[in-house]
Amino acid sequence: MISKRIIPCLDVRNGRVVKGVNFEGIQDVADPVEMARFYNDSGADELVFYDITASFEGRGLFTDILRRTAAEVFIPLTVGGGINEVADFERVLACGADKVSVNSGAIRNPGLIEQAARRYGNQCVVLSMDVKRVGGQFRLFAKGGRVDTGIDALEWAHAGQERGAGELVVNSIDTDGVKNGFDLDMLRAVAARVNIPIIASGGAGSMEHFKALFLGEEKVDAGLAASIFHRREVPIAALKRYLADEGIPMRIIRQREENSNDS
């Protein structure tokens, strides 16, 4: 049986992991390569590296981190941030990324999804969307959740799938950073419109929130979070054991002691 996935997201700026609360008030957490190794050993099913660097120098640091991580962490790596053209796909794939996440770049040029899917396959293209309720509608936001595009988020999700996106990250701005649980209403609404894997983001504060997510909407495949993992408020190994005990299919890795015995 296929497992539900637990995905830590590492926001990287100038070579360090940072995480905002409600997209504001960024604070430094740790070294990205160190953290990736730690998450791999903890049983994270995948890693997302999000490049929030603005400068050219910072971008070089980011690809270097990506290269170093991919040389020693052998689980799927998704990379996002600053992906505006097919050349950006090429740049991060060459450094060891497996999937590339597009957000504002796809809003500016929806054709980017098609171009990238044709070139690298649908499995490589992750459409990430920041969504917020505006006047009773789920509205798509751009630029890290700062700008209302006026686009209906559910239409956007469906169109993204048709253009060739292989997975969808749904980040609820309404619940992000609040730690009151994932935005199940929003996720259900999106799930009703697409048939590609959905990665839920925004709002996780406890193990129970992940349980509610996976039991609440069966079409959600993965839960993504950042600060609660980075600050060890929710340890991934314990979270996955808890969810497995609750009957949710999880990949449980064997203990490290056992690994080192026979290698």
Partner: protein, 203 residues
Amino acid sequence: MIAIIDYGVGNLYSLSHSLTHLGVENAVTSDRALIGAADKLILPGVGAFGDARKRLDDCGLTEVIVGRAHAGIPLLGICLGMQLLFEKSFEYGEHEGLNLIPGQVCPIQADLPRPLKVPHIGWNQLHIVRPCLLTRDIAEGDSVYYVHSYYAKNVGDCLMASSEYGVEVPGIVQKDNVYGAQFHPEKSGEIGLRILRAFAEGA
């Protein structure tokens, strides 16, 4: 030395680094002489079967790969690389495979008894059907990472391990010195490294 065959299909960075991580000498190459001299071969690949098959031919690699496999050199196909080992594929038409393992490659979607998302993306558990070299260091129920929309059928006794996804998906196949993994061992964490190590050490 293990030659990772580079024919312009997919990202070979992780595969090469995972072997290096295991202390296994390897080279990513499209050089026929190097492939002809390697102790073992890995045939990777992502994308569409027809394109990949054509690229192998265009790079002049089909003959050397098949020749070396017939000569008993261990060959491991990964993902699309595994699919290329079969008799034929029905991905966008009908294409001849390398015919090293019996079986055909067919769309998962057509055989699903209940609606499931395709591609089959994510971690799925392996059920060991016939213990073999590649399952040497792993256990029943260990998870590996899959990304694919087509799967092998009618593989008979060559089926070594499978995963359930509406249908029985062949995860590991083997015929003599020719091995295949439908999942990505280079993306399957510790379990994947164990599978690659078994191939590097034992085959």
